[in-house]
Point group: C2
Chain length 173, copies 2
DNA sequence: CCCACATAGTTAGCTACCTAAGCATATTCA
DNA sequence: TGAATATGCTTAGGTAGCTAACTATGTGGG
């Protein structure tokens, strides 16, 4: 019983989609379902790969994004602003800042304008970290899309944006 | 100081990519970097949306994928096989099965062939759950890609596959 | 002026994912 | 056959993300 390839990492096939749809007597378009399923599988894989990538530098995706966002805004931002621009909850920012602070890459200071607020500051060590990882980081990022020509990348960017717009269909009431 | 839109959810811009590359005097292609960054951001968003979607049915993405994979294989599979086909670690499968077993959607039975092994079985309740959520699930999956024509979806599938092949560039030594 | 309500941040508790280490059972081979 | 190795699964401990609840400070209205 040599089972078919089915190389782990959960990439669904068109046949799987067809069978699933048929099993319940539905009328969905198998190709559309396949694209959606592949997209979700790809999203998961890219996310994991990102963690491995940033892990090389002793960071996680979330921590890198926070540092990078901080640098893009003059090295100083409130946790709420960070949560907003990173698209995560404030609780998540608390956790990310906790970790980064422990490693000395950012620091917290009380806000001078709002007694409730903090400001998160990029430290010199944090800036150094970003500088150090930049060459390899950008090089690998380019590698990720090196299988596409420049024109294909433009097409992909367009299609991806339209799919992202469709995310609402997945979550709306 | 009305700051530019910058609508949360962390979609990076071409300008950001350019500035970051320039800051360190690198030669990377900003467009390629942008595509990679957008892809990672999209992956995260789709992943979260998926959790919301499956959460509607009292499941998570991982739990749904496990149930679905089980059904696609006659309702019976070992944890190791599940880990392989889902592309996650065996430890993760242990956790997913723990949760699903608690809810009566799967059951564990000792393997008859291997004294070390288990077999995970899809219960009647598990099969019912899959049947119940199918119509809405497939409908929303279609909705996710409804912004693309059939031809565009085919193109997207091709480009996505080539990007997935590039994941290796992100993680290899 | 004070109370009600809004906002900033943290904490607690959940899920998913990982790696590494542990335990039990199989298998291989000298 | 007995020891070394391989395999199956679980456990322990880590990170990231979420929501909900809590504390503290700000703000606005009667």
């Amino acid at each position: 019983m040599t089972q078919p390839p089915e190389i782990g990492s959960g990439a669904p096939t068109l046949d799987q989609a067809r069978r699933q749809i048929a099993r319940y007597g539905l009328t969905a378009d198998p190709q559309a379902v396949l694209v959606a399923a592949r997209l979700m599988a790809a999203g998961a894989r890219i996310g994991q790969a990102g963690e491995v990538h940033f892990g090389r530098f002793g960071l996680s995706t979330g921590r890198y994004r926070l540092l990078s966002d901080l640098e893009d805004h003059g090295g100083e931002k409130s946790p709420s602003q960070l949560a907003q621009s990173l698209g995560v909850s404030r609780a998540t920012v608390t956790g990310l800042v906790d970790g980064l602070e422990r490693e000395g890459l950012v620091a917290r200071r009380p806000s001078t304008e709002d007694g409730r607020g903090n400001v998160v500051i990029l430290t010199a060590r944090g800036a150094d970290k970003l500088r150090d990882l930049a060459p390899e980081h950008f090089d690998r990022m380019q590698g990720l899309v090196s299988g596409l020509t420049q024109e294909e990348r433009a097409t992909f960017l367009d299609l991806l944006a339209r799919v992202v717009a469709g995310i609402d269909a997945l979550t709306r009431d």
